[in-house]
């Protein structure tokens, strides 16, 4: 059981890199949600925009992550600090699931409910905040959940450009050909992903409209 001994001996660093990892995933998911949810709402109402927006997010999704990190490296302000760059890249990847789930969630609200609300004299924002969003929230959260799980995995690659996080162990372990070091990064990352998946899933069920 020398893997556990390794973890114990290096527990301070494991903890530090785990916190870095959480920081990268947390900030990038927040950024993606702040941009993606309003964008999803807009394309759900202006359906002409939905194809171009979803297509752009799709294209971003197809860029290999290592290549995206590489592309962004020479950008002036971004390239100065690797974590900025990593957060931007991770945010871009998180956009698609969040935009798409917001769009699906809002479009999924029963049209009769929206029409009744409009006919009763609800303003657009009353309709959005009192009817559409509460009814769509669990669908939107399912997209956030997917985004977080993807980000936890992708963030390990950010170590390649020196952004820190649990990927450091994985890359170091690969270089040293030492399974223990790889696992010291991979296992906490897997636990993070599962915890986030469970946590947001729980929130999703709590907020499910009756």
């Amino acid at each position: 059981m020398n893997f556990f001994r390794f973890i114990w001996q290096n527990h301070e660093q494991v903890l530090e890199l785990t916190l870095e990892h959480i920081w990268l995933v947390g900030v990038s998911t927040l950024v993606a949600a702040v941009i993606g949810i309003p964008l999803g709402i807009v394309i759900a109402h202006r359906t002409r925009l939905n194809k171009p927006v979803l297509a752009s997010a799709n294209i971003i999704q197809t860029i290999p992550s290592l290549a995206l990190f590489g592309f962004l490296l020479p950008v002036p302000w971004l390239g100065e600090r690797a974590d900025r760059l990593a957060i931007l890249a991770l945010s871009l990847y998180a956009l698609l699931p969040i935009i798409r789930s917001t769009y699906t969630g809002i479009r999924g609200v029963d049209p009769a409910v929206v029409e009744a609300g409009r006919g009763m004299g609800l303003t657009d924002s009353q309709l959005l905040f009192q009817v559409e969003l509460p009814l769509a929230v669990s669908v939107i959260l399912s997209g956030v959940r997917v985004a977080i799980v993807i980000s936890v995995g992708l963030a390990t690659i950010a170590a390649a450009i020196g952004a820190g996080g649990l990927g450091e162990f994985i890359f170091r372990g690969l270089a040293m050909v030492d399974d223990r070091v790889i696992l010291a990064g991979a296992i906490p990352a897997a636990i993070l992903a599962l915890t986030a998946d469970f946590g947001v899933g729980w929130l999703e069920r709590r907020l499910q409209p009756r």
Partner: protein, 258 residues
Amino acid sequence: MQPTAPSPVIEFRDVSYRVAGTQVLAGFNLQVQLGETLVLLGRSGSGKTTTLKLVNRLLSPTGGEVRVKGVPSADADVIQLRRGIGYVIQDVGLFPHFTVERNIGLVPKIAGWSDERIRSRVGELMQMVGLAPDVGLRYPRQLSGGQRQRVGVARALAADPEILLMDEPFGALDPLTRDELQREFLLLQQRLHKTVVFVTHDLREALRLGSRIALMEAGRLVTVLPPLDFLRSPDPWASAYVRAFGDGLESAANRGAS
């Protein structure tokens, strides 16, 4: 102010409505008087629902003008206009995440009524439409179709609008429940004297509930007649309708008039 005949509550002046190259409504003229129940009768696609939605501006006419209480609807504040018009649709459209009480009390709430006033108004309305008090805390999915439509009617009446628009409100109900709700509608209307525009394709329902029946066909108004005159009308469209529905219509018309 005009000292002559009272001005109509709703007035269509040469209204047309076109969407995506299709003429849904053309040369439409109609006046709805205070306190009457005007039934828009016609088959699917004849433009009944479009006509209704032009009143609360869910749609805007592409030609002509719709006046509500003398004001061209295009000039009215759309939110205020809608809050003064109750709207009931076949699919009801209750808010599934709100209790029955919150559904009924929503318009008063956004209009800024006090909680106390809303609570007493909701109680009054639930009694008026025949809902037991304990239904108030339930969610729409826990209700029967008839109960849901009662809530829909109560919600439309919440802020005491002068005008009520009803789009096939009883169309999806079983015959017994429909009969019950039609009867209650008549009783309610005797008390409240709202100006009602009621859409249906059911001649029997039109005869029973309407003070006048406006027959529509292919986006045009064919004729507007009181129920008993409608039955005897020589108009080919009206008589085709009467023939299609067969015998026993006189009694439906009489029941409504009584």
